[in-house]
């Protein structure tokens, strides 16, 4: 399944709520928490990280990982947390609205 345009940023912010992660870790986390439904390519995730960083919603720092490897870890900033809350409620509203429009399909139309 492809990720809807513009929702990738939100997914990244949501994922970083748990703990700081490095770039590849974020991709893996999204994949696993969506039970492999969302297969985010790193090539499109990485520019999103840079965009969020530029806006000041996430920050990065070089750290040593559990397997004693150096990697760049991203964490949520207070501004990012606020942004996530905003996007989260907008998202919930949108899903609700779309759900109301779509509803269950009338019987007999199934092919």
């Amino acid at each position: 399944m492809d990720v809807l345009q513009g929702t990738l940023d939100m997914l990244v912010l949501r994922t970083l709520v748990m703990a700081p992660m490095h770039g590849y870790g974020i991709a893996k986390a999204i994949r696993s928490s969506s039970e492999d439904a969302l297969d985010i390519e790193f090539g499109s995730l990485y520019p999103a990280l840079k965009r969020l960083e530029l806006r000041g919603w996430i920050a990065s720092k070089w750290e040593t990982s559990e397997r004693n490897r150096r990697a760049k870890f991203y964490r949520l900033t207070p501004a990012g947390r606020k942004q996530l809350a905003r996007e989260h409620s907008e998202w919930a509203e949108l899903v609700n609205a779309i759900g109301r429009v779509m509803g269950p399909l009338p019987g007999g139309s199934e092919s």
């Binding site: 490095h22 590849y24 790193f42 090539g43 990485y46 530029l54 000041g56 990697a71």
Partner: protein, 857 residues
């Protein structure tokens, strides 16, 4: 926040650090993950970069680099464009500095727009003392008003210290009117500007520092000016500027005599806040009748006073001279601009292949247009910069050459507004000369161009049309400049043809101002004059020597006189010239009737007088003036300081008065022996061989007679005459040079156009020749193309010139702005230049080898 971070990326070191950090991060990730899972990291990095990169800015930078490379590769084109732009922009910048400094910069007084010159309704000239006093008292539109009467050279002395200074004569309230507060003390009060009141002086800041060592206790000190004692009452602030350079100010006081009635006082008024010039003029007009009642002498034709904005009154004729200059350089820039546009079009034609390749490779059309615009902007900027350097030199030359007085309150230089102007015209020029070509290049057929090897394309004809329009407009602009130059040069010629009424060749002249101290009494004065005359005459090589109070073309007088018992024969403003016996002989002015002054006309002999032709014609149109009598100081029977009647003993030829452009004024001559009642400075004229015209020798002789006597304005009479034509000479030269440059540029334009057209039509011409066209008919074909364009431009230009030269009429002399001979001459010159410029390409066309030309395709 985010913008700030993005701006940081523009800083190369930061950018390098970020890039390095990113590479490191991606490398580190490769160690924790499978490379298959990460995908294309190069693309990821590329996309990440685009997050912070400044797309448009970077692509513009890329375009700019490309532009520099392209221009660098065609140095001839680049140098020609930059230099011609620099020439045009430099000239415009230099002239604009002057225009800005003189016409645009407001006067350095508070609310300068409220300052008005109060002047005569008809002539805009100075007013009389009764007029000044009446309107100052009765007009309710003025917050304040003051009068001034020009500058005088005086000797300032305190103890042994002395200095020659220039002092302005002004009434009370002058500084209040201008809105200037003296730094020390005060300005003149009513008492000091009344006849017989205490004498006072206000010092300029520089005189106070120079002569009084900035003494703070200077107020109340008594100083001597010539031989009168003055009390220092004020010192002006250092930043104070007055239109006429003055070291000090002394009170202008009415004398109660005839000189009050001379139109010799300039009146400056400050309007009350909120009062417009129209309202004030209406109110002043309403007072005219009351003034006429109170001063019946003013006469029936008296029309009252008017207001002229003070800055306009200071600028006066200079405005037109400057605008002429500005217009000329502006036209020149436009011609240079169309030449460049034409050049650019030609270049576009040769870059056809490059353009097509770029289009084929997917470059957007707008991107391509932007590329050209950037190239041209780059040329425009380079032209501005080089032009600015040129303007720096041009301006100093211009300021040294401009013969008219520039009333600029601050030094004229390349300051901020001028720099902005230069930048603006540089970019505008680039825009203009890009616009025409770009509009025609929007249709480029990639396939055709690539197939044909980049030589021909569908946009060709449109471009050729644009180039035709450019050449036509160049011709039209040149015509305007040439006509203006032709008229101004003719004016100068006419001015030189003007009969002077004397022979300036071989004459040397100098002036002995009355500043020697102690002042000579009348007997000493006579003694000095007689001795100096004798000594000068004794110098070997001197043929004759004379002296006069008002040397022609330097000063003029203004006295009333009347024919005795004929009040209808009165003239209000006459020149009274006091001369020594040999004056007419020395000057070479003919005595037409009667006799000149001789030894018998002593102080005790019956008073005699000579009149010039103008007076003789006016008062004795058919009769004989000899033996008739004149009364100086009488006007229409009224007494303005009447003197004893004088008998007319001769009529002399007219001579020019103050200005070469003006007809001779009514003039009467009286012998110096009978002029003891007058105050005068003398100018001396010496007719001598070249060897005797030594400046040092003359100074020596004067020093021998009186070592304290100052000698000034020592020069030849030819120089005096030349000084009177400097404005016209400057205008004629300047417009002539500009017109010449315009002509050269236009010739280049025509030549370029035809050369290019011949190159484009090589195969066509080859075909024609193969089919039997003679070289003559080919020559004709090309020349006709050129002359047609020139003729169209000529018609447009002549029309434009007709409309524009009318505004030059006050600069012209002896020639009308629509002088047909000038228009015809200009047309012939331009057609000739068009033919000459077209001949070379036309001849090249006849040399085309049909075989080669046909294979060319």
């Amino acid at each position: 926040m985010s913008l700030w971070r993005r701006l940081l990326y523009l800083w190369p070191p930061h950018r390098r650090a970020v890039e390095q950090d990113m590479q490191e991060e991606l490398r580190a990730l490769q160690e924790v993950a499978e490379s298959r899972e990460l995908g294309n990291l190069t693309l990821a990095a590329e996309n990440a970069r685009s997050v912070w990169e400044w797309d448009w800015l970077e692509s513009i930078m890329a375009d700019l680099r490309y532009a520099v490379r392209v221009l660098w590769k065609s140095p001839a084109f680049t140098i020609v464009s930059v230099l011609s732009l620099a020439l045009g922009i430099g000239a415009n910048t230099a002239v604009f500095s002057v225009v800005h400094g003189v016409l645009l910069r407001p006067l350095p007084y508070p609310q300068p727009n409220q300052l008005m010159l109060v002047a005569q309704q008809a002539s805009h000239s100075d007013i009389t003392i009764p007029e000044f006093e009446f309107w100052k008292k009765n007009s309710s539109s003025f917050a304040s008003a003051a009068g001034e009467r020009g500058a005088g050279d005086l000797t300032l002395s305190v103890g042994d210290k002395r200095e020659a200074i220039t002092a302005m004569t002004v009434t009370a309230d002058l500084f209040r009117t201008l809105g200037v507060q003296p730094a020390l003390g005060r300005e003149f009060d009513e008492k000091e500007t009344r006849p017989g009141g205490p004498q006072a002086i206000v010092l300029s800041d520089s005189l106070w520092r120079r002569f009084f060592d900035a003494d703070p206790e200077v107020l109340g000190r008594i100083v001597t000016l010539n031989d009168a004692r003055f009390t220092v009452v004020g010192v002006l602030p250092p930043a104070f500027w007055y239109p006429q350079a003055a070291d000090a100010f002394v009170p202008l006081r009415p004398t109660g005599s005839a000189s009050d009635l001379g139109a010799n006082t300039g009146m400056i008024a400050r309007l009350k806040p909120g009062v417009t010039r129209q309202q004030a003029e209406a109110e002043m007009g309403a007072l005219t009748e009351a003034f006429r009642r109170a001063n019946p002498d003013a006469g029936r034709e008296y029309r009252g006073l008017t207001l002229v904005p003070y800055q306009d009154s200071l600028v006066g004729d200079v405005r037109l001279n400057l605008l002429l200059m500005f217009g000329a350089v502006g036209l020149l820039l436009m011609i240079a601009c169309s030449n460049l546009a034409s050049l650019f079009l030609a270049r576009l034609e040769t870059r056809q292949r490059e353009i097509a390749v770029r289009l084929a490779l997917g470059s957007g059309r707008s991107r391509l247009l932007r590329q050209f615009l950037i190239e041209n902007m780059f040329l425009g900027l380079a032209g501005s910069l080089v032009g600015l350097l040129g303007a720096y030199w041009l301006l100093s030359g211009l300021l040294a050459l401009i013969p008219f007085h520039l009333p600029a309150s601050q030094p004229i230089r390349l300051d901020m507004p001028v720099l902005m102007f230069t930048l603006a015209i540089g970019l505008c020029t680039a825009l203009v000369f890009s616009l025409a070509p770009l509009l025609t290049s929007s249709r480029i057929d990639i396939h055709d161009t690539l197939k044909s090897g980049g030589r021909l394309s569908g946009a060709g004809p449109a471009r050729q049309r644009t180039r035709n329009v450019l050449v036509v407009s160049e011709v039209a602009l040149s015509v305007t400049l040439l006509v203006a130059a032709g008229l101004l040069i003719q004016s100068l010629y006419r001015l030189h043809q003007e009969p002077l009424g004397f022979k300036p060749e071989g004459l040397i002249t100098f002036w002995t101002p009355l500043t020697a101290e102690p002042a000579r009494n009348p007997a000493d004065r006579r003694n000095f004059e007689v001795t100096l005359l004798e000594r000068l005459h004794a110098v070997p090589g001197v043929h004759s020597v004379a002296a006069i109070n008002l040397l022609p073309l330097t000063t003029q007088g203004n006295f009333p006189a009347q024919r005795e018992n004929h009040p209808e024969n009165s003239i209000g403003g006459m020149e009274i010239r006091i001369v020594t016996q040999a004056y007419f002989e020395t000057m070479g002015t003919p005595v037409l009737r009667g006799r000149q002054f001789g030894v018998r006309d002593t102080a005790l002999a019956p008073p005699v007088i000579l009149v010039n032709e103008t007076v003789a014609r006016a008062w004795w149109p058919n009769g004989n003036p000899l033996g008739d009598r004149l009364v100086i100081g009488l006007y229409e029977g009224k007494d303005y300081g009447k003197q004893a009647p004088r008998e007319v003993v001769g009529v002399v030829g007219d001579t020019k008065s103050l200005r070469l452009k003006a007809p001779p004024r009514p003039t009467i001559y009286i012998p110096i022996e009978q002029a003891l009642a007058y105050d005068y400075d003398l100018s001396w004229v010496i007719r001598a061989d070249r060897s005797a015209r030594s400046v040092d020798q003359i100074r020596q002789v004067v020093a021998q007679v009186d070592p304290r006597q100052r000698v000034a304005r020592l020069r030849t009479m030819d120089e005096v005459v030349a000084a009177n034509t400097t404005d016209s000479r400057f205008d004629a030269w300047l417009s002539g040079i500009f017109a010449g440059l315009a002509l050269v540029l236009t010739a280049i334009g025509v030549y370029g156009l035809l050369s290019f057209s011949v190159a484009r039509r090589t195969s066509e011409i080859g075909t024609r020749m193969a089919l039997g066209a003679s070289p003559g008919s080919i020559l004709n074909l090309v020349l006709k193309q050129g002359t047609t364009l020139v003729a169209i431009g000529l018609v447009l230009g002549l029309g434009g010139a007709l409309a524009l030269t009318r505004s030059l009429s006050s600069l012209l002399y002896g020639v009308r702005p629509n002088d047909w001979a000038t228009f015809v001459a200009v047309s012939i010159v331009l057609l000739l230049v068009g033919c000459i410029a077209g001949y070379l390409p036309a001849r090249r066309a006849t040399k085309i080898d049909p075989m080669v030309a046909l294979r060319y395709e």
